[in-house]
């Protein structure tokens, strides 16, 4: 999938615990995105990055933080996981600035019990 690896692929955790999801790319693309996918809501942008250490919020950023210390890695952290954060999380990359030609990873299924 266009050189994108998401880890872990599946995770079950308990309410209140911190969780970090990792997105690793080998394409050297500048732009990286985290989306969550939920039934009835489609894909919603959590955070995105337009360069190393440059990030911005999406439409559902509350309860999430991100970090990008190098081009290839974009981390999504749930500071204190809640059941409402049970979802499938997708990372996407793009070499273009205008949201063009996003390549998505295979997703991480996260269950918060």
């Amino acid at each position: 999938d266009a050189g994108i690896t998401q880890s872990p692929r599946h995770k079950v955790t308990e309410t209140g615990t911190p969780v970090t999801l990792r997105c690793h790319q080998t394409e050297n693309h500048r732009y990286m995105y985290w989306y969550r996918q939920d039934p009835g809501h489609g894909l919603r942008l959590i955070h995105y990055s337009y360069g190393v250490k440059d990030t911005d919020k999406g439409e559902v950023s509350d309860g999430y933080s991100v970090s990008r210390s190098k081009t290839e890695d974009f981390l999504l952290t749930l500071e204190s996981a809640t059941s409402s954060q049970t979802s499938v999380y997708f990372c996407a990359i793009s070499e273009r600035s205008r949201g063009e030609k996003l390549f998505f990873g295979s997703g991480t299924q996260l269950s918060v019990l």
Binding site: D1, Y31, Y33, Y35, G40, H41, G42, L43, R44, L45, Y48, Y50, D56, G58, E59, F90, A92, S97, R98, G99, E100, K101, L102, F103, F104, G105, S106, G107
Partner: protein, 116 residues
Amino acid sequence: QQQVKQSPQSLIVQKGGIPIINCAYENTAFDYFPWYQQFPGKGPALLIAIRPDVSEKKEGRFTISFNKSAKQFSLHIMDSQPGDSATYFCAASVANSGGSNYKLTFGKGTLLTVNP
């Protein structure tokens, strides 16, 4: 607020039929409109995209029709096949408040089933 409204939620057609999926938007600052296709257990994949300076774009059996005045765009799949059964998402790109970086906003998706 939902910036891109997609309909229908689900659609069933027979093989060879022409399913049509519609999307509407309000923000006239959108200037890039892609469609993504997603199979179960996979991430979405770009299918076709259009810019508002053209009214139609075709790639193989997939066509986007764009109506700028109505702020609507649609996906048509000609001669649909069972292998086209998937979830389809429309999307639109808009700049952040600084105007320097863009983010993609998706519709809620349409589950298409093509029966043999």
